[in-house]
Symmetry: C2
Subunit: 344 residues, 2 copies
DNA sequence: GAATAAAATGCAATCGTTTGCAAATTTTTT
DNA sequence: AAAAAATTTGCAAACGATTGCATTTTATTC
């Protein structure tokens, strides 16, 4: 059976014609509007299916002024390639896709390199999307602030403790940093490196937790142990390599701001036959799927991303209805594995 | 300085009013149409910037019948969660985003679970997107075939050797499988497992390469060595574990259909203190960023995804202009690392 | 069976751009 | 300085769906 491609595009008007009703009736019938007699509704819906009819989204959006599209912006750091390589960000995108679809929205993917600088204009005023979800606060929140200032619906994944006029969803970074550090200290570590980029709000919070854990354990902190590097495994690998070359093994624990960073550090240590966790314990962040596949498996801090995604979507949709919104902290737990402790 | 949110939405008509010209002139001026006097053009463009004006995409799409949006569909395998976990797919999405943006298109992300079954209808006829890029042929190409049959612009990432009425971009899977196997054989392996799901076209090709390599090397093939598992690290981990438990170490090499699978296998072997590569050599596929971070670093087959993305976009845009299209094979190379050979 | 209430359908304006064609303006030519 | 040609601009009709309001049809009541 060959289905011929219909010569002329099928519009609602034509479908209505076929059904012998007006376009208004057809339109309502397709939306299951109870204003229309049940029998008519079913008849038209069946007809639509039969003729492979689809409402024209462009026309519908123009008329209703709603797109049912959400722009998700990966807010990347300018000079690093954190983006394409970090599984965590993309995992979050996957979860968002799911959460959005569940609410009848679609996901327009973008990143801070490509989208023009004026997000409110480009995405919302232009009616490309109804709202924006930004992943990551980046080093500066200028663009986010600007977008928010113009009053568009917006939600951010970042550090929820940051004071901002828009809701921020994120793990408890202070707690994450604290727990990771405390975990190492309780296993006897005395000189713990903090590996990450301290310009991020999220990372700063983690660093505060790192410091507090030291204070609570009465272990002195050496500023030499706070290491600012790009958030990539390569940077971590290089840093650890060079540090050991220069100073010898002058630390016995590492708190990393992401699993990717941890894996880079791990590789450098292994190549130099540093025992893990016997000589150095390592804690990562994010619990990417590879963390438990490493050898030794990687102790890390997991944030409930699925819950986060749902929360972000909820907070965004709330804004559509002018409901109040608020920043939300999602569950953050330490997953203890072999990179910090010997066989259980 | 407070920028007031303009009370009434700024439309092209209003902008034209402000400028003292007709909407037609304004429209053309914004597109830098040479029909309009240069001076007028600049004046209106400046005015648009000043007033934060953005063309309404919905209206524009309705009128021009073009969306400048491409739907990217992750064609996942129904019961596995390959999706959210496999860095390779998401890397490809990243590259596509880049390639699309370079051509002035946006990326609408979707996956085979969520999108309705009738892609042509849902995305194209509904004017949500101008074309479709499908990532992965899946176990059945039914949905893809159906979409293609209705004559919409479509491109697929998969096995380029598959005969299909749409262009397929992909690595040379036969060669990849052949090279990986040959590499292991040349390092002395005699019984090599093939770990993967043979229902995929891509995997089948790789398996053919695997077989041919054996024949060329005069090494017998045991069907017991072809192992059908889900394409996840977890499945690989379990499989290897159970196999060893049941049969002992009855193999000395593994060809995996993805790095994720390889990492799962690797973990299982390490836990049983199987020497790598001394007892068993392992080759992965995809060269995800973690491959070289593993210990030992993972020998794998790399496909040039950046080139692939650009090629896919090109082939898709060609269809818009009714230019001929053709399947394309992208560069596929073996990256030899420690998991198959001792220190160099 | 007429009057009233309730249910179902249709009319027509609107959303904001784009574009073929006509009209107005400017420049060039004779 | 008028005619012809070239350059700029504007008119008005699409694009296809949605929805408040009016109208028609059906069901209910007396």
């Amino acid at each position: 059976m060959v289905t011929l491609v219909s010569e002329t595009k099928l519009t609602l008007a034509k479908l209505a014609d076929i059904a012998g009703v007006s376009t208004s009736t057809a339109s309502r019938a397709l939306k299951d509007n109870p204003l229309i007699k049940q029998e008519t509704r079913s008849r038209i819906q069946a007809l639509a299916k039969e003729h492979n009819f689809s409402i024209n989204a462009a026309a519908s959006r123009l008329r209703t002024q709603k797109t049912h599209v959400i722009a998700v912006i990966l807010n990347l750091i300018d000079n690093t390639e954190q983006s394409t390589t970090d599984p965590f960000l993309l995992k979050l995108v996957g979860e968002l896709n799911q959460a959005l679809n569940a609410k009848g929205y679609e996901l327009l993917l973008s990143n801070s390199f490509m989208a023009s600088d004026d997000w409110a204009n480009y995405f919302i005023r232009s009616q490309r999307a109804d709202g924006i979800i930004v992943i990551g606060q980046g080093k500066s929140t200028a663009k986010i602030d600007r977008a928010a200032q113009s009053g568009i619906p917006i939600v951010v994944w970042g550090d929820a403790k940051t004071d901002a006029p828009y809701p921020i969803i994120g793990g408890d970074n202070y707690l994450g940093g604290y727990t990771a550090t405390q975990h190492l200290l309780s296993h006897g570590a005395k000189r713990i490196l903090f590996l990450g980029d301290s310009e991020h709000a999220e990372m700063q919070e983690r660093h505060k937790g790192y410091s507090q854990a030291h204070r609570d354990a009465n272990v002195p902190i050496d500023t030499q142990c706070t290491c600012a590097i790009d958030i990539t495994s390569k940077a971590a690998y290089q840093y650890i390599n060079e540090r050991i070359k220069a100073n010898g093994l002058d630390f016995d624990g590492i708190v990393c701001v992401s699993d990717m960073v941890a894996l880079g550090a791990l590789k450098a240590l292994k190549e130099r036959y540093v025992g893990i966790p016997s000589d150095v314990g390592i804690v990562g962040y994010d619990d990417i799927s590879l963390a438990e596949l490493m050898h030794p498996s990687l102790t890390t801090v997991r944030q409930n991303t699925q819950h986060a995604a749902i929360e972000m979507v909820t907070q965004l949709l709330n804004q559509f209805e002018n409901k109040p919104t608020e920043s939300q902290v999602v569950e953050t737990t330490l997953i203890a594995r072999r990179s910090t402790q010997h066989s259980d």
